[in-house]
């Protein structure tokens, strides 16, 4: 059980509660997340262009983090629907790095294999696979692999678009590879080791 330190009393905590999940997410976020500073005002959800499709608004998700509801948070579709538009970030009166917290939650959900629907995690992973193989993104490979697996119904409707992109020279049929792929691979492998130990 956490101690009732002065800091916790100042933070308005009147009884002992377990904030380990909140701290874990905060620590795993790039930069200083300020997640602990959330005052539950709801400006984030009110500013969000896709809130209507989310299981929980960001405000609610942060309340759930504070309550230690690990599984419910990681299963939420909220982090996957975040479009990284940063509207909430610039409006948040407490300057919480909301969009970066969403990235952290995606990573945690993937590692815990907790997500409602695999479309978004698969898309991210396919993108990363392309970048790790070529050093550049490869739209044609990414799109074809992704649509065949997740949206076969969309393919007929997308044919004119795909053809248009190819005939107008806007989609390369073969990937481009950077010169020093070996160097990038070494950097990423080392980074992955560091990720595990942190």
């Amino acid at each position: 059980m956490p101690q009732m330190t002065d800091e916790r009393v100042r933070a308005g905590l009147t009884h002992e509660e377990d904030l380990s999940l909140l701290h874990e997410v905060s620590m795993k976020t790039a930069g200083v997340s300020r997640l602990e500073m959330c005052i539950q005002c709801g400006t984030c959800g009110g500013s969000c262009p896709v809130a209507k499709d989310m299981d929980h608004t960001p405000r609610m998700l942060f309340a759930m983090l504070r309550a230690g509801m690990r599984e419910e948070v990681l299963r939420s579709n909220t982090q996957w629907l975040c479009v990284s538009c940063y509207h909430c970030v610039v409006r948040c009166p407490q300057e919480v790095h909301i969009a970066d917290v969403m990235y952290t939650l995606k990573g945690m959900a993937i590692k815990a294999k907790l997500y409602a629907n695999s479309t978004a995690p698969d898309f991210s992973q396919t993108f990363v696979d392309m970048v790790e193989s070529y050093g550049r993104s490869f739209e044609m490979g990414l799109a074809s692999r992704h649509y065949l697996k997740h949206f076969p119904l969309r393919l007929p409707g997308m044919m004119p678009m795909g053809l248009g992109m190819i005939t107008k020279g806007r989609m390369a049929l073969t990937p481009k590879r950077i010169k020093h792929m070996d160097q990038l691979t070494k950097i990423l492998n080392r980074a992955k080791q560091l990720e595990m130990t942190s």
Partner: protein, 331 residues
């Protein structure tokens, strides 16, 4: 002469090649000089950050490390893509805000004999240097064919003015840089309150219904305000509004035709360049009618064959539309 290091980003070579071509066309009249960062790699877009933190930031930082090694008398890195700009700026900022991140990223970079001291480069977007370094005065002077009578809405998108770590923009939600620049070209700029609303980003790939609604809002508002075209500063925004407009129309049963061009393409036109060398005509929602208003003829490119429409015959997969989506949801 203004010298810069250029981080083009992957889309400038493919889906947004018109952006690259038109950028090349305005370099000379504005006396700009760009040196491409040698052997740059993808910034990871919005995908890598959600998978692994240290690798994602190391991927971005390799570009910063290469840029700081490449001496061409400048320490300013220019990115024309908003997502690339944000990722580069974000890595630079967070490596300072959270020194432990900077240490780990540098440890990873060391495996490739590279290092980067955060804060030593300035990361800026193309429109930032055009408006604030080159200046509207110089741009106005270079105009030989004013775009008078072309009704445009300026679409800044979201990742450029936000979160704005270095306080570079006039406003987070209603910045005026693009409005001012288009006015300097003589265009008829229409107020566009949705200028920094999201185009859907990667949701066109992973949650089309969500994305189509965001695209519809942007296009229908631009259309309702009487715009002949939208003007963008970002390859992702251009791709979503242009390439997915047809699908969005099918989804909602609407018939919008709202072309979207890069601001550099309009600059090139105003500077008297030929539409063909500006990549005009490779957009999927043709700008032909819009540009006819100012007497510019859009080159003909090969149009893809229209899909056959036949209701009888063998059962074929149908277009993705709202009804289909609802049926899917019920299942």
């Amino acid at each position: 002469m203004n010298k810069y290091l250029l981080y083009p980003g992957c889309s400038m070579e493919s889906s947004a090649k018109a952006y690259m071509e038109s950028l090349n066309a305005i370099v000379e009249p504005l006396d700009l000089h760009f040196d491409e960062i040698e052997d740059w790699n993808c910034c990871g877009a919005t995908e890598y950050l959600g998978i692994n933190l240290i690798p994602a930031y190391s991927l971005i930082a390799r570009n910063l490390a290469l840029a700081s090694k490449q001496k061409n008398g400048t320490r300013t890195v220019v990115a024309p893509c908003s997502a690339c700009y944000l990722n580069l700026a974000k890595a630079d900022h967070y490596m300072q805000e959270r020194p432990s991140l900077g240490v780990k990223v540098n440890e990873a970079l060391a495996a490739g004999d590279l290092q980067y001291k955060a804060g030593t480069l300035d990361v800026r977007h193309l429109i930032d240097i055009l408006v604030y370094d080159v200046g509207l005065e110089k741009i106005r002077d270079a105009v030989v064919r004013p775009l008078t009578g072309l009704k445009v809405v300026p679409y800044m998108g979201c990742m450029l003015p936000r979160p704005d770590y270095q306080h570079r923009w006039s406003d987070h939600e209603h910045p005026t840089e693009l409005d001012d620049l288009l006015r300097a070209l003589g265009a008829d700029v229409i107020d566009y309150p949705l200028t920094t609303s999201c185009c859907g980003g990667h949701m066109t790939q992973i949650g089309p219904e969500t994305a189509f609604e965001l695209i519809r809002r942007l296009v229908s508002d631009a259309d309702g305000r009487g715009a002949q075209m939208m003007v963008t500063v970002c390859p992702m925004c251009q791709m979503n509004i242009d390439a997915y407009q047809n699908e969005t129309n099918h989804f909602f049963g609407t018939e919008y035709h709202m072309p979207i061009l890069f601001f550099t393409q309009l600059m090139g036109l105003a500077f008297g360049r030929d539409p063909k060398e500006l990549g005009i005509g490779v957009e999927l929602v043709s700008s032909r009618n819009a540009l006819a208003n100012i007497g510019v003829e859009v080159p003909v490119t090969q149009e893809p064959a229209a899909p056959r429409k036949k209701d009888e015959g063998l059962p074929m997969p149908r277009r993705w539309n709202k009804r289909e989506a609802q049926k899917e949801a019920v299942k």
